[in-house]
């Protein structure tokens, strides 16, 4: 249907004006899903009937002269670790198969209140632990640009759904890069907001001091639109920042004249593929041409971020995932005693990577090792925050690759967990600091697969970050433009 608008902004404008119906927009996206979902596997569940009812309700409101809101009639995909009342929420784990939450996540309520139409629940690495979506209990998601390659992870389904045109926008969660890295690998925009800007109520917890919900989209403006809709204080999340949501759409055209942007030295050298680094330098030149001052800045502790993260995140996970004990929800494997039932249920219900992280976290927190591992990692977290603070004395924003490489092939890293973990090296420091960062597509690598550049900002620096993202987007070479 060539006449239908494709971005969330255009769809919402057309639906609000009565020029197109939410139902016909939905049908076009359901047709796209029918055509390609078999090979992509972006969804754990497509909500065709529920979405039709929601779209019809939006159309009825328009017909009655009401305004359904800024996301009127926009199909939206939800990562399957966001609770949806009465609708299965699995975290791509056997242990939650069939569970229907008794409540909606705050973000689910907010997008519905803004007029969005939830089209399905997307696949992820089990409990968001992974960088390729290969750890799903329901099979991997494939990269829409090349189905022999991973979409990244853990929000691989949400990234692939947008890249494949199944939905113009989606929501994911980012604990160590789980929005930004799949966005980069699939060639879409992905944003990890400031910790506390978006309520985590109803997001199934992985590592509570790091988790944050954020948007995927094909354009920077659509991510701004979606983030405006989900941000803002929520009394049900005690870590929610008590202030109004930022204005982002209004500042997108303000440019970068006079901004100081620093290339992070530690994330431009060893371990970063030369074609990816070259694209990041090209993006820096574009920002410079638009009036920004570009410099190099050292964030020494960034190189320790990976080690600290892979102690802190598993430690928090081992505690958070203790709740899956076969008592209150999800699966149970029967056994004569409760202790045996707990063990049998967890052994059967969790996949390999989740078990590995629970083991690592339990070890890091156990008597005799707490100070050596977890305690030291928390101190490194302080160093990372201090280093960022020093960098932001001289720069407004930082720039780096999102991922060290373009999308890798299935099975390339599954036998070596450490090599998979190293894939997160550019994204992890942001989570440890609680800062915002986003990935913007910027042409292709030597293999023709998408490259993402990462913009980083200090806490609550989203408005400045989005201004620079709009400049990067406008200067981005097309994927078809050969890498030279």
């Amino acid at each position: 249907m060539p006449d239908l608008p494709t971005t969330a902004l255009d769809i919402a404008a057309a639906v609000r004006a009565g020029e197109v119906s939410a139902v016909e927009v939905l049908d076009a996206h359901l047709a796209a899903i029918d055509a390609r979902e078999g090979e992509i596997n972006a969804f754990n569940l497509v909500l065709a009937d529920e979405a039709r009812a929601a779209a019809a309700a939006v159309d009825a409101r328009v017909a009655a002269g009401e305004d359904p809101g800024p996301l009127a009639g926009v199909p939206l995909a939800l990562k399957d670790n966001l609770c949806t009342r009465g609708v299965p929420t699995t975290c791509s784990s056997r242990i939650l198969e069939g569970w229907r939450p008794p409540y909606d996540a705050t973000v689910v309520q907010r997008v519905a209140a803004a007029g969005a139409v939830a089209i399905g629940k997307t696949n992820l690495d089990e409990f968001a632990m992974g960088s390729s979506t290969e750890n799903s209990a329901f099979g991997p998601t494939r990269n829409p640009r090349d189905t022999a390659r991973v979409p990244g992870g853990s929000s691989g389904g949400s990234a692939a759904a947008v890249a494949a045109g199944f939905a113009p926008i989606s929501l994911g969660s980012d604990t160590g890069g789980s929005i930004r890295q799949p966005a980069a690998l699939c060639g879409v925009v992905g944003v990890k907001p400031t910790y506390g800007l978006v309520s985590r109520y109803g997001l199934v917890a992985f590592a509570s001091s790091l988790d944050q919900i954020g948007p995927f989209s094909t354009t920077v403006a659509d991510s701004a639109l979606l983030l405006e809709a989900i941000a803002g204080h929520d009394h049900r999340d005690s870590t929610s920042i008590d202030q109004a949501a930022p204005s982002l759409l209004d500042v997108l055209d303000r440019g970068v004249e006079g901004l100081r942007i620093g290339l992070v030295t530690e994330l431009m050298g060893e371990g970063i593929a030369p074609d990816v680094a070259a694209r990041v330098r090209q993006a820096a030149e574009a920002l410079s041409a638009a009036g920004a001052t570009i410099g190099e800045v050292s964030v020494p502790a960034a190189s320790y971020g990976l080690s600290a993260y892979y102690l802190i995140a598993p430690a928090e996970a081992s505690s958070n995932l203790a709740r899956y004990d076969g008592v209150r929800y999800g699966m149970r494997v029967d056994a004569p005693t409760t202790a045996e039932m707990n063990t049998a249920t967890r052994t059967a219900g969790f996949g390999d990577e989740v078990k590995r992280r629970i083991m690592l976290g339990t070890y890091a927190l156990s008597a005799g090792y707490y100070d050596a591992y977890y305690g030291k990692a928390l101190k490194v977290r302080t160093l990372i925050m201090r280093d960022f603070e020093a960098a932001y004395e001289n720069f407004d924003l930082l720039l780096s690759p999102t991922s060290p490489t373009t999308a890798f092939r299935f099975g390339d890293k599954t036998d070596d967990p450490l090599s998979m973990y190293l894939n997160d090296i550019c994204t992890i420091p942001t989570n440890l600091a609680g800062h915002p960062a986003m990935s913007v597509p910027f042409g292709g690598g030597a293999d023709g697969m998408p490259v993402g550049v990462q913009l980083l900002a200090p806490a609550l620096g989203e408005a400045t970050m989005f201004r620079a993202a709009a400049v990067v987007e406008a200067a981005a070479p097309s994927l078809e433009e050969a890498y030279a």
């Binding site: 009394h235 080690s307 892979y310 008592v327 590995r356 083991m359 339990t362 990692a377 302080t382 609680g434």
Partner: protein
């Protein structure tokens, strides 16, 4: 290959985490967890004696709500998701060593 983590350590951690590992899994996890801990040696080499820990990115204070009755989850809806229920409560197998 790391020697800091033994097979017995891994077995003990599995018990604490309420996971049952096969012999093959014990061997695999001993190797893989050792590799991750080896990588963490770059952290161990840092002088952090005077650095305070950061457990959380926000300067958190206790958040309290007004002490008034509000809506909460529906009991029957919550119990409908439990593996086993009796008398409107969660039901579990024997605890404290009683006969099953």
């Amino acid at each position: 290959m790391s020697d800091r983590l033994t097979r017995d350590d891994v077995a003990k951690v599995a018990l604490l985490a309420r996971l049952e590992l096969s012999d093959a899994e014990l061997d695999l996890y001993t190797e893989q967890l050792g590799a991750v801990l080896d990588h963490a040696d770059d952290v161990a080499a840092l002088d952090l004696a005077d650095v305070p820990p950061t457990a959380h990115p926000l300067p958190l204070v206790n958040v309290l709500r007004p002490d008034v009755v509000g809506p909460c989850a529906d009991r029957d809806e919550v119990l409908s998701q439990a593996p086993s229920v009796e008398d409107r409560r969660f039901r579990v197998p024997a605890i404290l060593g009683e006969e099953p």
